[in-house]
Symmetry: C2
Subunit: 281 residues, 2 copies
């Protein structure tokens, strides 16, 4: 059965098409939104797909309008898919209480604890349901996938790639949360969504996952030295040590003076797109 | 006396700095906001300044976050200044009633009619007060100025340049309102801000102004053929005829399939920055 897709808007951009869509997610038992950029090459043949996972409070719109990705996706012939950061308006008690939990803060995990477990299944949504939908509805090459993201979404991208190296050929991140078990954002989310058992938390912590099995390709990470979340929330030194211990190739670039914003992302996105294109095309 | 400038935020971007600022405008008798991108070159020497005027409903933020201008301004060594589209919260009766009049819709003119005339002086603000402030507070070369804009702001850019060819060395526009006296947006605004005397309207209509005196350089204009405002509001054929009649050099490019959005602007902004850089640097 082909899933129903509701187009919200489509605009020509750099010879390709930016579209916003909504659909009913069976996994999240909720309507979900995402954006797709189809590069000009997709008019004649299927193209590789790059997934981008956004940070706390974002929707699929922030990256799509702010990063300047379309110029580069058109140049390198990549489709770019951006899901929302959580289900919305699900009626889950407390979903709109905090900006760093619930709405806009799905943390790309499958919640196991009530009341979140019914709708907050973003890990399975991103890894399984969304790629299946994209393969059905867009000219994508399903076995040529890469993934990247920012902050909470950088954490999500690394978790998806490290747990499914057979599904993703490339991974990178901007200012990712690299050791969520050890930082306030991660601890709050994991406690709420996964409960107190920290063994479960390890399945969603890049610094833990990399110790179980490496990613086949170098991991590219950019972080600004003026990022206000650097020392309390991102913890690059923990991930760097974990990678070194197991021999994971990591290109971690500390960018002098840059902050956590999309101005930082826009500055370095060309390097990330080139990184993914070299592994996907 | 140096005017007081209130910095709201500053972020590193492509080696330069994106900043948002607020100040009290004497001309508008109101607080005003604007953004400035200082390219890396501005750290060592003064640089030319390119003003961008935004369309209806925008603030200084839309273009600054959506157009991808910083990469190009850094490449060509241009400062980019983006004012807000009107004063806000002035207490003017009716300022928030319509989306195409009052707040977000200053039309870059000096209102002569009550209740608008006290605060809605965007023409003098853009042409006089803001450049003076920029010259005082930023490393700008005051006699190397260009101007461009989108929709209502494309109208504004053309009006500013055609009335002050001695102050602007370059002008271009995305989907500008080209004959405001003949379109609904323009007629509504001119009636409200300038009154019923259409002689006054001619001072703010590019298709009229070009007949009084040409701009010294070619004018570059891009418009998408899928722009929903093309035939009712933009009226490129009127401006094209007026330019042809007086020998004004005009590069009017109708871009197949593009709409009125920032996805259209982002696609063609490199050509515009190159156009301005060739005349400013």
């Amino acid at each position: 059965m082909i899933a129903a897709l509701n187009p919200i808007s489509e605009s020509l951009c750099f010879g390709g098409k930016v579209g916003f869509y909504r659909h009913f997610s069976a996994i999240c038992d909720s309507e979900m939104g995402f954006s797709v950029y189809q590069p000009p090459q997709a008019q004649s043949h299927a193209v590789p797909v790059l997934y981008y996972l956004s940070g706390l409070t974002c929707t699929e719109e922030n990256f799509t309008i702010k990063a300047g990705v379309q110029r580069l996706a058109a140049k390198y012939g990549l489709m770019v898919v951006v899901p929302d950061t959580s289900p919305r308006n699900t009626g889950t008690p407390g979903e709109d209480k905090d900006w760093d939990l619930g709405t806009g803060a799905g943390f790309y995990l499958d919640a196991t604890v009530e009341p979140w477990s019914r709708h907050y299944q973003m890990y399975s949504y991103v890894v399984e349901e969304l790629p299946q939908l994209i393969a059905e509805q867009f000219p994508a090459i399903p076995d040529k996938q890469g993934i990247f993201g920012h902050s909470m979404g950088g954490h999500g991208a690394l978790v998806c790639a490290l747990r499914n190296p057979e599904h993703y050929l490339s991974v990178s991140a901007f200012a990712p949360i690299l050791a969520p078990m050890r930082c306030p954002w991660g601890q709050k989310a994991f406690n709420a969504y996964l409960g107190a058992n920290q063994e479960e938390w390890r399945n969603y912590d890049a610094s833990e996952l990399v110790q179980r099995g490496q990613f086949n390709q170098p991991i590219l990470i950019d972080i600004g030295t003026a990022d206000p979340f650097l020392t309390e929330q991102l913890l690059p030194e923990v991930f760097e040590r974990a990678c070194a211990a197991v021999g994971q190739v990591l290109t971690l670039r500390m960018q002098p003076g840059y902050d956590h914003s999309y101005y930082f992302i826009a500055t370095f996105i060309e390097d990330h797109i080139r990184h993914h294109a070299s592994l996907l095309t």
